[in-house]
Symmetry: C2
């Protein structure tokens, strides 16, 4: 091991943790420590709540869970003979007041925990609910590790720099008085299509405000609906990103910090290169599928292939995540299905070299119609009959799933989910909603991106007019405005909380706004029962959006 | 109007609000004010967040929503010429720091808002997530209304008296220094089978600690999964409940407060008489069904009647809530259904004078079997085939629901939901889970209670051995331990957060504990897609219990 006087080698460990899997998480951290030691590193930095994974949710309510986190810290401490470590972990609040836990970072030096600091700012909005579990830090202090004075902060602790600040105070305002050498921020910051840029901007503002270099360590990997994109980095006191770790995968990198100059010795200023937004989304969704299966110990996916663009995209993403040999496509045509639907679906399956079955729903639908004939006599064909077809498909897909151990992937998009253009217990079925956070216009965009070099998704699937094919000559446009308009309204309503009046001021017709907003509101009951949606926007359906089913939405 | 010098007449208004329905809520409050004026009242007290309803959830994120709450306060102020009012409402945080809103109580006197106080302690646990929206009060002050010095507090503000306190400080400790004449607490405290006693004890401890009389005003009515039981009351400084309002319905009562003696003039100490616990649960569930339908503008329910105890109880409750003319029972026997199932179901429908259809699922199931035969060839009958039957029933129920405008009521109980003994998209379907927070043993208890005077539910339904009847001679006991043991373990695990070790210490066998706990954990993915569950326990499945699907539960 080389110990340069005046230089500290610091390793950033960006790992894919698994909530509650202390054995795996500890093992990963021990391996990272071993590797960092080999690189002569003197300090290794892990992410927020690394021992237990993020989000551990109500598992945090079990004493046994917190005890296991403590045991993990002890095990890791033993390995820290020639290296120090900073690790996020939950700890009990021993003060007899306040919430049961702190969201903590422990500092290990010479095999002992030398400091435990607590998170001050607890995000409790959107998908975050940290105040459900944690008491905010009561004090904050500079920590000393490897001779460095470090302002050790946990994720949100650096996020109070907006003009209207969400919290009463910023821990860095206090810590900066004590002249730290650098800021270390350990984070659990999930991906969204705006988050990488926001995160960079926030950390940069801290570097510039406090004139300090910053180490930022994030999680990677997906936890059901949440996708962590990694992208950990180091930044100099001038707010320039010097080096960054990989996006969407584990990475370990060691950097040299000059303790005299208080700066990293890396001379190149490697600006963080973000993938194009849509490319990021593709990577995020692939990781989301991959980790969902891996963490639940499943391998194989089943997808109902309609010949439409949504299921085509989901099939493509599933193949990318799981391999074509692990994906089964099932075509389930009815009498309303057009020939091109079947042909397009087959062409797609062939393009992606995916096995497919073609199973008619006719016999089942006829049996249901016969069974219900005495009750439906004299009524006109309508939603009930459309839903029967959709649900007949779901029964067959779920039967194959249950029999052979596939997870059914859901193919609803965000626009459909928003306005309720889908059948509960029918096409809304599935263990995971892959593209439920992509508006229909984004589905097109991503398909075009997928096809940028080679036609993976047959062009006809992208070009033809969208249809649910649940009645003769049905088109989406019969029930909905054109998608570019629909999606524009949805985005303003869902993501920017604009009410009727504000939407109309944006130039949309009052009738259209009323219609769309009412459709969104009237379908909260359906979305309550939707599968988890891979989150790629700042506001996805699911745990980050809580709306009353019974509410009146006179906005 | 009589104005006795030295006496203030105070009205407690316990109303059933509707989230977001400002028109209705305001109308109800204006009517209450009119009635209180007629009774010569000088002060009327409404509940927490009365203007907008509770829980308004993310509707609070819309500026237009908060503006409407302000408009409601203005409208109500105009009516407060000869009477003062205290009303819970959300208000903007104007301080440029912290969350966007306060959870406030405004005091109106002589048609003007004279005080606005903010809630200090924001419950953020179980079904509560108030810190998602609200900034805690920065200051607290005694308010003056009708010459009284009032410690005005909002719900949780009085709930910090446990030996280990959840919050850093108690607003009453501060307010009591200023010698208030009484405490007024406006609340939104939902029902659970332990809550009435807990609430009484908490308020009593405050009365005794601060030696002050207390006015406590709660909501009544159900909001999807949450049921508010009302039971507002007044208590003297000796901690004795003097008078209480009705349970589970709206009520308005006026009391006289002697400002010289600082006590209520009611001489009788009417101890709050709680209904037996199981009787309360019955009332809660009936209100839950009734309000879900009323607030969604539905009238009619459809229920799949298996001949088993769960669907029998749900049918009984639905009839009680909606009237027998608004409930349709559907028997959906298969070849595995026993004769007694059909006969028992018919006897029940006749007892309750409910219309019923008997619809065979045979033709549909045969069609599905035929369709899948090429794929299932050579496999053994198992879960897949069982689920097909359950889902075939769901398709028919949903078709009738969609065609004729019924809401399908779900009949799963808490024990089943816990261990995953149910079919997703099959018997787990429904708009509302009526008994999903009742363990199977509680289902028996409630059925016996229902039959206490008259056999409403045929005894044979209660006496026979439980079976899903999805394969020949199937019994619940084939897959599950006896329900009293199962439920005991479930309750300790779900409601008291005991881990494996602690459960085994309670005397259960390690194998059984492992099996049950693993079943619970392995079914988070199913429960994610379950309908909203009427909450009657301190820990129901749904929004109050957040568990990771992908988590590892090595507790």
């Amino acid at each position: 091991m080389v110990l340069n006087k005046g230089f500290v080698k610091i390793t950033l460990a960006q790992l894919n943790y698994h909530p509650g899997n202390f054995e795996l998480n500890t093992h990963k951290m021990l391996e990272a420590i071993a590797q960092a030691k080999q690189e002569g590193s003197q300090l290794i930095v892990f992410a927020e709540l690394a021992t237990c994974g993020y989000p551990a949710k109500d598992l945090l309510d079990f004493d046994a869970f917190i005890d296991q986190a403590a045991a993990a810290i002890e095990k890791i401490s033993n390995a820290c003979n020639t290296i120090s470590a900073i690790i996020g972990t939950p700890v009990f609040n021993q003060q007899g007041k306040g919430k049961r836990l702190f969201n903590a970072a422990v500092v290990i030096e010479k095999q002992k925990v030398t400091h435990t600091i607590h998170k001050t700012l607890l995000p409790t909005y959107d998908i975050f609910d940290e105040y459900r579990y944690f008491e905010p830090a009561i004090n904050s202090e500079i920590i000393k590790v490897n001779g460095l004075n470090v302002a050790l902060t946990i994720c949100e602790d650096l996020w109070n720099l907006d003009s209207v600040s969400l919290y009463q105070s910023s821990p860095m305002d206090h810590l900066s008085q004590f002249k730290p050498d650098l800021i270390i921020n350990i984070a659990a910051s999930p991906f969204s299509n705006t988050q990488q840029a926001t995160r960079h901007r926030v950390i940069q503002r801290n570097a510039l405000k406090y004139q300090l270099p910053i180490i930022y360590v994030n999680h990677t990997g997906a936890q059901t609906d949440l996708i962590f994109d990694g992208g950990s980095f180091i930044m100099n006191a001038q707010g320039e990103s010097i080096a960054s770790l990989k996006l969407f995968e584990e990475d370990l990198q060691t950097f040299e910090f000059d303790t005299e100059q208080c700066q990293f010795t890396q001379s190149e200023h490697k600006t963080q290169t973000f993938n194009t937004s849509i490319g990021n989304i593709e990577q995020a969704l692939v990781l989301g599928i991959k980790d969902y299966f891996k963490k639940l110990h499943f391998k194989k996916a089943i997808i109902g292939l309609s010949g439409g663009i949504d299921s085509a995209l989901v099939l493509y993403l599933a193949v990318k995540a799981l391999g074509n040999e692990n994906v089964l496509a099932v075509l389930l045509p009815s009498k309303y299905s057009s020939d091109h639907s079947v042909n397009d679906a087959i062409a797609l399956a062939n393009n992606l070299q995916v096995q497919y079955h073609q199973i008619s729903i006719e016999e089942q639908v006829n049996a249901i119609d016969n069974t219900l004939a005495p009750f439906f006599k004299g009524t006109e064909m309508g939603i009930a009959e459309e839903n029967i077809q959709s649900r007949a498909r779901a029964i067959l897909l779920m039967a194959l799933s249950n029999k052979f151990g596939y997870i059914l992937l859901n193919t609803s998009n965000k626009s459909e989910l928003a306005v309720g253009y889908g059948t509960l217990y029918g096409d809304m079925c599935g263990g995971l909603s892959v593209i439920g956070d992509l508006y229909k216009t984004e589905v097109y965009e991503l398909c075009n991106y997928v096809n940028r070099e080679q036609e993976m998704i047959p062009q006809n699937i992208i070009s033809k007019e969208p249809s649910a094919e649940l009645r003769p000559n049905q088109k989406d446009i019969d029930s909905l405005p054109p998608y570019p308009i629909l999606d524009a309204i949805l985005k303003l309503y869902l993501e920017e909380n604009l009410g009727y009046k504000e939407l109309i001021e944006k130039g949309f017709s009052p009738e259209l706004v009323k219609k769309i907003v009412n459709m969104v509101n009237a379908n909260e009951w359906k979305r309550w029962q939707a599968p988890p949606v891979l989150r790629v926007s700042p506001k996805a359906f699911g745990t980050g959006r809580k709306m009353p089913i019974e509410g009146v939405y006179s906005l």
